[in-house]
Symmetry: C2
Subunit: 145 residues, 2 copies
DNA sequence: AAAATAAAGGATATACTTGTCTTTTATTGA
DNA sequence: TCAATAAAAGACAAGTATATCCTTTATTTT
């Protein structure tokens, strides 16, 4: 597995896609999102429901309904998205699996890994969902394949 | 989960421990290693067997036997250990789960993540098992708790 | 009110990871 | 040769992540 779980990979891709649709004033259904980001429909549904429950995405039922993102939520960082799905282990856990990462009882990778972890954290915390979506406009990024 | 699988966390901890024992000319049994690095015995056995098969650790059966590491293997990088257990996905995979990470069809995290991935790679490739073990002598590192 | 739409929720299935247990094989030493 | 030791190998169990399906609830449109 990569650095994120599969759920989280789908979640991040979906958030960008929904944000992009919302910028055009469009609500999107699970099916459409799943097709566009190439993910299993029902599995993605759970993920989107979770993100809604956690206030990152919004949704409305019924005809014309679907998922969208509030203006205010565009200011949420990608870290919030990751945390909502994968929890905080990526930001806090020990690289070598010690129960707790600490400078008092460091594992042999602690120093090296500390820098890497802070870069990961920075990448995710310094970038908002809005920024993320804006980038789509500048360069051609891909969410499927 | 953290950046490595549980198997890999155990594997890295075990490799340091075995290397340390080997430096003292001692072969160690699975049971001892498992206790010292706080891991499930039988599960660790599989991991050590795998590392042996891949030529990273060595082993001998029978009384006085156990796991040890050849001088030459001390020059192997930590990346080799990780690769032997978790494969190359950490070094090659796309952060957002696209089938292939490439600059031609980049995901929105491609640029940021590229730097992080190369730092991870560097951390693991620039450090040999021998270096890793030597560090143990300088500072007090922990492999359990 | 009825029909259609779409998310929410729950139950279940599949796959993979992690963990345990037992048997077999090789080696050593008595 | 026999007993003891320790890794190797294989079968199995539990746990978690991933994936699918079906029913319920809320909303809109007719
Ligand atoms: S103790 Fe292992 S990364 Fe901090
Ligand atoms: S394409 Fe996603 S990290 Fe390179």
């Amino acid at each position: 597995m990569g650095i994120f779980s599969k759920s989280c990979e789908y979640g991040l891709r979906a958030v960008v896609y929904v944000a992009d649709a919302s910028a055009e004033g469009r609500k999107v259904g699970v099916k459409e999102v799943a097709e566009e980001i190439d993910s299993p429909v029902h599995f993605l549904a759970k993920i989107l429901q979770n993100l809604s429950k956690q206030g990152i995405l919004s949704s409305s039922k019924g005809p014309g309904g679907g998922f969208f993102i509030e203006k205010s939520a565009l200011n949420l960082s990608l870290a919030k998205v990751v945390e909502a799905i994968d929890g905080r282990s990526l930001f806090e856990g020990c690289a070598m699996g010690l129960k707790k990462c600490s400078a008092k009882k460091p594992c042999p990778l602690h120093d090296d890994f500390g820098m890497i972890r802070s870069k990961i954290t920075k990448m995710l915390e310094s970038q908002t969902i809005g920024d993320f979506r804006d980038n789509l406009l500048k360069v051609d990024y891909f969410l499927d394949t």
